[in-house]
Symmetry: C2
Subunit: 256 residues, 2 copies
DNA sequence: TGCAAACATTGATTCGCGTCAACGAAGCGA
DNA sequence: TCGCTTCGTTGACGCGAATCAATGTTTGCA
């Protein structure tokens, strides 16, 4: 199919050695497999999935993967980097609805109608696997385990959003921020990155917007957590010094 | 399959004339069809769906459809009445995650793992169609349009939750309450009930919990909306007097 | 390398909503 | 129908976070 990688601008300048930045790596070789769609598929099934997946060039920071009201064609698996999903309210304000890390699936907001109802923008140099949804559906009809797995992925998104609702329902600024950090920590951990030391790709403003608090409050909350020796914060670099204290501060189950 | 209707207690005492309370009505006869799973299915397909659907006796107010940590077996379509979904946080507090009206699908929180992560309780005498999920998956493999439709239903749930996130993100008590009322109004309207006059099955406490505000604030917010001649509130009976003003108060798009 | 824009921090002040308390109203079982 | 329990309303008060403002820091482009 032509136009395979037309969506994405700029010649890739990053190394091609690592699987998650190399457009030619197949699903079966990708080390994110255990987190991503191929999980629970047999080798032949993965190969069939592989055939419908489009791998584009990396997106630059600030590039949009899709925009609100774009026609919906595909969901995307984050291969490297990270994305922020957001929508614009009637009153013209931005609302960040989620952050997506490698192995996570983006764009499911478009499944129920013919268009996306959120935008997705790269927070850093990032790459994705584009999965045309119609073809995924077609394949899912033939591969029950793929159908099952995609139902589960969507179910996970539902749970994630509902946990977020719980968080925003009644928790304080410190609890919200702590929960977000724990969530990122756990997600990093599940992809074999450090659970205690990481770089936040998003701005304080994104964090605040996502958590339903202002930038200033985010900043002060970071300050408090740092003062209590729970965190070490150096700009966007976060080090969790006391995981138990952070969990206590979050006051929320983080098992998933 | 035996034990078809064992889940549900008490002999039904409600009339059997209306389709949505009659356990013997098939999907093809149910007037909720246009909202529920059968939408977009052919007659024969609906008949196949019909075969896997279990219709139980009505649930009484306060009866649980399923509980958090129950094993997940089925999703449920509300046939009549209404339900509240909620979960218990670590700190032991209740968090209401949604209200479900006739034609809406409940229980998708269990799809991604083997157990539910929320409880569902009837807010009034209610009845459901139980749809064993494994059998639904099996049928979806054979009926692409059913698969497609269920993907869409799950997508809708995701969007609904994300809109809720947006609402809780930064809106005032009045905006939240107005949005909920508009949502219920629109959902009533889509099932050919009055968009301007309805009875809230849930308590003020449920509403507040769902919206992330206290009972007292709910009460005061109702008071303000009433004082401004936007609503007429008589206990649980709500009459929307000025839809435009309510939309303005909600300050949020309600189209879906 | 330097400058401007975007991002982040900190302080002072304000305000919406939570909390506490009291009481009235509705729903329900005996 | 009574009496209890749950639910709902109203008022007083204080706190946490928003807002406003000023300033420092980082980033990215020319």
């Amino acid at each position: 199919m032509p136009g395979n990688s037309m969506k994405i601008s700029e010649e890739p300048k990053v190394a091609r050695a690592r699987c998650h930045t190399n457009p030619n790596v197949s699903c079966s070789d990708c080390r994110l497999g255990a987190l991503c769609l191929p999980i629970a598929l047999s080798t032949e099934e993965v190969d069939q999935l592989d055939e419908i997946v489009k791998r584009g060039r990396p997106l630059q920071k600030g590039d949009h993967l899709f925009r609100e009201s774009d026609e919906f064609h595909s969901v995307y698996a984050v291969r490297s980097g990270s994305f922020k999903a957001y929508s614009i309210t009637d009153s013209g304000e931005v609302q960040v609805t989620g952050f997506y890390l490698p192995g996570e699936i983006l764009g499911m907001d478009g499944i129920s109608s013919r268009h996306h109802c959120a935008s997705a923008v790269a927070l850093e140099v990032s790459s994705v696997c584009e999965i045309p949804f119609e073809r995924l559906e077609g394949l899912a009809t033939k591969l029950p385990s793929l159908q099952h797995h995609f139902f589960r992925i969507m179910g996970k998104e539902i749970i994630k959003d509902q946990q977020m609702l719980t968080l925003l329902g009644c928790n304080s600024a410190d609890e919200r921020l702590s929960s977000l950090l724990l969530s990122i920590s756990a997600r990093n951990s599940s992809r074999h990155l450090s659970a205690t030391k990481f770089r936040l790709a998003m701005t304080r403003s994104d964090i605040g917007n996502y958590l339903g608090i202002t930038v200033e409050t985010v900043s002060r909350s970071f300050g408090r957590l740092q003062k209590n020796n729970v965190l070490k914060v150096t700009n966007k670099e976060i080090e969790i010094l006391d995981m138990d204290a952070l969990k206590k501060a979050a006051n929320v189950n983080q098992d998933k």
